[in-house]
Symmetry: C2
Subunit: 388 residues, 2 copies
């Protein structure tokens, strides 16, 4: 494999595009316009951390028939040529006179008759990664063609993972599992949480992650107040529950799970909460099957937590996972999505352990015809203790 | 400092908001709507890696007078309360019925008379981080108020850094400098580039980076083909020039510079190219002053490279730097931006070393009234050799 070459053979991407095109046909779309790192990577295999720079927009046009067209800054031409795409059109970005919009309008006009519909993601969990003024100029330029919402078309395809994708996610889950196993080497009483976050990222890289896009966590007596804060200088204390959560990346695929550790002997509260979360997850793993709705999983997790005597925390209790840290669907009371075999999902139950304190537990799975298959190495049933 | 508390005192953010409000007054804007991690962090100090999840939108409304209002998912309420903001409105996201748009419309309607103008970034190097369909619904709901482009208003303020910001960028530059010093410890002939990328990220974390948002690089005889590819399994070879480039992050601020290394004795071509890049940078550092335009810097770098007998590569030759990896302006022939004291910038000249091969050199500076002040530890004048 050459540096930067896509990890899968062209057939993988051709299959994805064929599935997108089937959805487009059903919705009457003549083309799809993709602008985000995840959608572009999904359709082409184009993988770069260069998206971190907001300076340049990148476009891929998926026509109703035939192969996608890349309309990209020339700085990315070499890398895009290593993908399966053959029609690659470039401009020297950033260009304040026309930052790719002329080229993009041409590519779309070729693919879409007048009048016709161009789909792009406009719905939940999406955004348009290009300047809004350029989008409005593009829309006016393409009229009477219409720009319409294609979120469903894209998510129906992205939600169901191929075996090649599942293998990638299993791989990064195993890497994160080995990094979690090493937490007792560097988490200890009096160690600042910021240092623990640093060492945890080092462990993820040492175990084989390509990069670490997400680390969060918390520590406090019997639990933590929130799960999205960066680390500060507060040292770990005996009696804390330490949680680390990571979205590490291998070959463009994410894991997303956490682990909890007691600093010194765990209190009964913490021990019971962890056991309840573990058992509620175990029960839900056994019950999961295709055909359930996302909201059923939320209900199931809450019911099993209550059965264990625990009080479920608010918010969603899991979600999709793949080429971004979180994907559709969401395990909330309001998400009607029907679960399908091949979906990669997180189960993320949380429970209250005191005023403003929670413990959260998370596993990653792939849903099979017969039920859930774990991708993350299962957490220990008992809250592990780090000797203080 | 509590975990997750903003790094600067409230006065820093109040000053920024006052400067935004002065720009808003000049443009006749009754409110600004901010949706991206960089803009929200800039106005409030709210820092989290949770933006990696595309599931939830986050909003900050800056009124023409008074303090900003945060309209955010409840999962972020705890962390936002640690900032200087007092008006924090939350909803339980994701909510397919209304994902914050009702709350946001209310907050904007309070701040903006009818008719009035709400500014949001719509121009170069910006995007709207919320679903497009929600944006269109919001726009209709707020009519006859108008949503207009406020890119200039925001960039004029963000471009000029405070001393506190400059200190943060100097800090992460020093961290990256120490990590670059350690490259000879892990880059060696026969070592796969992917392993070198991994060890370099570990070195950045070990030297004190909070996280590593960007690493790119390349290696090849006398130079590399592109500068945005992820690493692959190709081993380093004697005669390669290895380049590593990083956007590491400390307290929310980025560095962005690279270093080159010869694997074994450098060829005359590589040695001369590196010396030309170094000297062209040195000459440009000496010439830089406020009042020049961005395009003048492009011209200056090209002229000094040619004076050294080198052929400038295409594309931009530097840019702004701060709360994102790259910011306005761009050192291209087309960027008219007038440089001001307090701007933090990268100088990034590249030159051709063969067919499809380049070497790129980069430094980070802050522009002072009297000229350029280096923030990155200056690269060695001679291409360093790693013994093969």
């Amino acid at each position: 494999m050459a540096d930067g070459a896509p990890i899968f053979p062209a057939e993988e991407y051709q299959g994805r595009v064929a599935r997108l095109q089937a959805g487009m046909a059903a919705q009457g779309l003549a083309a799809l316009l993709l602008t985000t790192p995840a959608d572009v990577f999904y359709a082409t295999g184009f993988l770069t951390r260069f998206w971190e720079s907001p300076a340049r927009p990148w476009f891929v046009v998926v026509p109703q028939m035939g192969d996608p067209v890349a309309v990209i800054p020339s700085i990315g031409a070499d890398l895009m040529r290593r993908t399966w795409l053959r029609d690659i059109r470039t401009w020297d970005a950033p260009d304040p006179r026309d930052d790719g919009i002329g080229l993009l309008a041409e590519a779309l006009a070729e693919a879409v008759p007048t009048p016709g519909s161009i789909g792009l993601p406009m719905g939940a969990e999406t955004h348009l990664r290009m300047p809004l003024a350029d989008y409005e100029a593009l829309r006016d330029r393409l009229a009477p063609r219409r720009l319409v919402d294609a979120t469903d078309c894209i998510r129906r395809v992205r939600e169901v993972k191929s075996e090649a994708e599942i293998a990638c996610i299993r791989d990064i889950c195993a890497i994160a599992g080995r990094a979690f196993d090493r937490v007792p080497e560097f988490a200890a009483e009096a160690r600042p949480l910021a240092d623990v976050f640093g060492d945890f990222q080092i462990a993820l890289l040492a175990e084989g992650a390509d990069w670490v896009s997400y680390v969060a966590g918390g520590a406090g007596p019997d639990g933590y107040g929130d799960v999205i804060s960066p680390a500060g200088p507060r040292p770990l204390r005996r009696g804390d529950v330490l949680m680390l959560d990571t979205g590490a990346v291998k070959q463009g695929y994410f894991c997303d799970f956490d682990r909890n550790f007691a600093i010194g002997p765990a209190s009964d509260t913490a021990r019971r909460a962890h056991a309840a979360l573990w058992q509620a997850t175990e029960d839900t793993l056994a019950a999961l099957c295709p055909g359930m709705r996302a909201r059923d999983v939320h209900q199931l997790l809450c019911a099993r937590l209550r059965k264990q005597g625990a009080t479920p925390s608010g918010g969603r209790l899991g979600h999709g996972l793949g080429v971004t840290l979180t994907e559709w669907p969401s395990f909330t009371p309001l998400d009607d999505t029907v679960l399908r075999a091949g979906m990669v999902l997180t189960l993320e139950p949380g429970c209250m352990t005191g005023a403003g304190r929670i413990i959260v537990h998370e596993e990653n799975i792939v849903l099979r015809e017969h039920g859930a298959e774990l991708l993350s190495p299962r957490a220990p049933a008992d809250l592990p203790e780090i000797r203080a």
